[in-house]
Amino acid sequence: MSTAPSVTPDDPTMLARFTERIQAGDQIEAGEWLPAEYRFEALRLINMHANSEIMGALPEREWIPRAPGLARKMALTAKVQDEVGHGMLLYRVAETLGRTRDEMVAELVAGRARFHNVFHYPAETWADVAIIQVFVDGAAMQTQGALRSCSYAPYSRVLKRICYEEDFHIQLGLDVWRSLAEGTPRQRAMLQDALRRWWTPIIHFFGMPDRVSPHTEKMLAWRIKVKSNEELRQQFLRKFVPIILEYGLEVPDPNLRWVEEEQRYVYTEPDWEELKRVGRNGGPKSADRLALRQRFHQQHAWVREAMNRWLTSQAHGAVA
């Protein structure tokens, strides 16, 4: 885990100037003075986002070799490639906050870091690919779309590109979704089943409704958080529940309904303990996915070592 915020208190004048700038809508660049707590929270957020992209490649990756048809195979490969690429962009942003990518990746494969809850679940059938692309990426799009206006400029810039690519993922997912929803009864059943299995993890995705706390307020004031968890969940439901209904599929929550007066969906309160357990790498696939990462990380130790030595020899060459 990241080191705790520095015990040395921030210079009050600097802190006041910083807070004032952010409240005026300014964005902060890499290398600028940051309050220790801001650095800690921004790094934690971006590091976890990067981890989630890298781990998020794994469930869908399982279906690349089995994708039904060449067009699907190419598109799914391109989609997973994008997620890996997002990991690259995000680790680079996290590096500007003070950790090296090697360090963050090593921590991830050792099982000592966190990644998003949805990537701890199995992708059991081809229909899971559609659900992940439409609903998981759709959920991520709400969070990331909002964070484009966050106060850390390097993060905000890469989110612009990430959101652009996520749009391709959702469109691709909708195409797979439609072919299954309008397909044979077996395909439709497969889709309904996948939707049922993914529903709770997706509701969990946005986290517990935020408590009103000084911490949350500070995150919002510093624009490391832009919208509350519940706001984002509602935004997601408004956009994605109609897709389920349009294809005559069943929303897996019998209590889900739109409340006109409150302009919001009510839904069955999920088991938040499950989210906490999963978040601590205790999900149904956490161990397998981490074991896979570890296996390849170890397998490639000599490649990293060879590249490091090459870098050193090149650096010396440049000096000579």
Binding site: E32, M88, W310
Partner: protein, 123 residues
């Protein structure tokens, strides 16, 4: 970040210039979309040398957008103005005299004389 030059006029601690201070394996990537465009900074790659950086930059930064040419430069070779120096780019006096748009009146005159003298064979 030790070599930044100190601007004594701002209390003595406000560096206006600094190197990016990145790790030696970070390469900044510049993409030229079309020949008539400048190379534009697109992001970074980690690579052990320039050749590998170019090879890897291609798929990281040009797999969707058009590109005719790539540059990579070790990011630790880049120097930047400090963010705290951003103010020096903000004009304090009216600089509109530098822009053609400030001379609309004259342009109207020009246009009418242009129309009066318009001839097909000049085109």
């Amino acid at each position: 970040m030790t070599s930044g030059r100190v601007d004594q006029r701002d209390g003595g601690d406000a560096r206006w210039e600094r190197p990016l201070g990145t790790a030696p394996d970070v390469w900044a990537v510049f993409v030229q979309g079309r020949h008539r465009d400048m190379h534009v900074y697109a992001g970074d790659v980690h690579a052990p040398d320039a050749e590998m950086a170019l090879v890897l930059a291609k798929e990281s930064y040009t797999r969707r957008d058009p590109c005719v040419n790539l540059w990579v430069v070790r990011a630790d070779q880049i120097h930047a103005t400090a963010q705290t120096a951003a103010e020096m780019f903000v004009p304090a006096i009216d600089k509109s005299y530098r822009f053609g748009g400030s001379y609309r009146q004259q342009r109207r005159v020009l246009q009418s004389s242009y129309k009066a003298s318009y001839r097909e064979e000049d085109q």
